[in-house]
Each structure stands twice: as C-alpha cells, then as structure tokens.
Symmetry: C2
C-alpha cells in the first residue's frame, strides 16, 4: 500500500466517523470521493484492492467500512496518546485544539523548560518540566510527540524524546529533523511541518505557468 493510499484511507475513515455521528448508516463511493477530493473510481478501486465489497443495491454500510478500515489503520477503542514539547503559542493552541478527540488522538501532557510555564495550572492538560518526559512517556505508553519548541532547542528536544522511548515525531520547528537509528536498530517516524516553507512553496508555484 503506497503512502497516497494510506492518506486516502485515513481520510475515508475520518469522514465515515463524522457521517456516523450524524446518524447515517449507508454511504456511496461518490460521497467519500467528494469529501476526500478524489474521484469515485479511485474510492471503488481502493475498496476493491482491500477486498471490501459494496451491497447489491449499491453503497456500503458505514459500520462495516469503519470496521474494515479501522483494522487496516490499527485503530483501537483506546485513544492514541500524544505529548507536546514546547508550550509557547503554537504548543498551547494545539493543547486547546478540539479536532484531535474525534480522531481518537489525546494530548496527555505538555513539557516546557520555563518554570513560569510549567508551574501555571491553567493549561487544559498538565504541563511538566522537560526532566519528566521519560516518566510520563512510560506512564501513558506514549509513542508520538509534537515538537513546538524554538529553533535553538529543537535538536535537544528531539534527543530527549528518542531517549525517553518516543517512536514518532510531528515537528513544527523550522529545523528539518531526520530519523536517527534507535538503540533497537529501528528508525523513528518523523514528519516535518514547516509552515514558512509551505508558504514559500505556494509563492513559488504562483509564479510558474499553470499546467492545470
């Protein structure tokens, strides 16, 4: 399964969850296609590859689809725990973000180097000093962390996280992190989200002749 297909399946899964919460029981390929911004043919091809078959009268049972796709995506009833390193404005905004819960993602704690930040008890989740990362990672079985620290602290935060047993990182710092071999011989999964770079690419694409 290639990464584009994984992205599509994740999108189908999220849309199906929303449709179910609206009370729907059945869905057609073109509904999923519209919401995932692909063609209905792509949806049908994906389902056919996954050996998911529609009903005789057309359409799919939402409950069935969620079961199938959830299994592929490794979804469990338990929420997937995530920590945030760096509780500045972006870190705080993510702590307050209510778009994670419906997707089964739970921010369990934040970490910051500044005593003014971690002694403040008004955050929506507990915030601890960096020295307690390992303890919290073990207690909540956390596999994934979000890095929202300033540029100068990125590398240090990354090292601390890997040392504490984190296996996946979503990095918002402008420093591009690369997967480093872990003690067990595996590599962590790193996704770098560079907002300034993303804007620059838009500006670049705007000045080249359109091909679409």
């Amino acid at each position: 399964m290639n990464s584009d297909m994984i992205i599509r399946i994740t999108k189908y899964y999220r849309i199906l969850n929303r449709l179910r919460s609206l009370g729907l029981e059945k869905v057609f390929a073109h509904n999923l296609a519209d919401a995932a911004v692909v063609s209905a043919a792509v949806v049908r091809k994906d389902f056919s590859l996954l050996e998911i078959h529609g009903q005789k009268r057309g359409g799919y049972e939402i409950g069935d689809l969620l079961g199938h796709l959830g299994k592929i995506l490794g979804k469990t009833e338990e929420p997937q725990n995530v920590i945030i390193i760096g509780c500045g404005r972006i870190g705080k905004a993510l702590m307050h973000y209510n778009g994670f819960e419906p997707d089964g993602i739970r921010i369990v704690a934040g970490f910051d180097s500044d005593p003014m930040v971690y002694s403040d008890s008004t955050h929506p989740v507990p915030v601890y000093p960096l020295s307690r990362i390992e303890e919290v990672v073990k207690a909540f079985d956390v596999k994934v962390a979000i890095i929202t620290v300033p540029e100068g602290s990125t590398s240090d935060s990354y090292q601390r996280l890997l040392h504490a047993g984190i296996k996946g990182v979503l990095n918002f710092s402008p420093i591009t992190l690369k997967p480093m071999k872990l003690d067990d011989g595996t590599f962590p999964i790193i996704h770098n989200m560079n907002i300034a770079l993303e804007l620059e690419q838009i500006f670049y694409e705007l000045q080249i002749p359109k091909t679409e």
Copy 2:
C-alpha cells in the same frame, strides 16, 4: 523542475540566508546537504541542472548562490504579504510567529467574524471583520491567505478569499479544500495542512514493519 527539487531549492535558499547572516561567505555542497537532509551528490546535481558552477578550489560563493536561487524562486526585496482568516488560538499563534520574517514573509492583517476579536487592539497586526478582506487584499497586493477558521466556516472563508482575488491558500482547517476554477480560468494553489491527519499517518506508519 519537480516539486521535490523546488522544496530542496527553497531549503537551500533559507539555509544560505542564515549562513550569510552568521557572516559566512562560502559554502560547500555537503554543508547544504546536511542542513537540507539530502546527500551532497543531490546538491551538486541540483546545481548542475540549474547551471550553477562552483569555484575552482571547491565550494560556492553564498552571495552568488542566493542571487541564482532567489531568481528561480521569484524572490524580490519586498516582503511577500499574507493575511490570516480566523484569529482563534492557531491564527493568533501564527500572527506572533517570528519565523516568517527571515524568509521574507509578512503577515499584514488578520480577519475574524467575532466583533470581540476584531475590536481587540492588542494583536501584533491589525484584525478586521471579514467584510473588509477585499479592501485589504487590494491595498496590500496580497496573493496568499492562511485559513485557520473552525470546520464549519472553512468553505465560506475560502469562497470569500477567492472572490477577493486571493490566488494561494494554506489551509489549517480539517476540511480538505480543492482548487476551484477562478473567473480568469486559472486555478488557485491550495496546500492543506491537516495536523490530526498528519498524526494519524505517524500512528499508521508506526504499526507497519519498517522497510528502512
């Protein structure tokens, strides 16, 4: 030039700017490679494709490289103006973010539907009601907007932006936006940044056997 190469060139450009601000005058392919997380051979191949040649003794003049790459990226001395639609926590965090300025990106204004938000004068940039988007876009010659509104307002904000003349959108809402044909027959450039989806992909990748 494919999109991977554009991303690399944007990265080289940013790194070169930082190196120059540190007082450096010369750079080697492997310096750029380390910072952009590619091999030195890739850097050399990119420069060779762009007909950028190194010096006899090896290495490149940083000033020369910035000139060449800046031309390719359409960089001018003027900062590139951007507006933010939706001044909740994420929108505000982006207004305060100081990582745009070094890349020549300037947030010129924010917009919000809530009078409590746009009548508050403590924001780092002016915040206006949505009805003033078109006026500000024209006054500042804004081509690109960042959408940080809640899910339910995404589609409406997108329509307003296109109507006001915006040609590029960085969308942080969980709704995937698709390029819609504009009045002049072209399509806008849309980059969707879905943070929850990004986390879910990391969780998915963590549970499949490593190929690296």
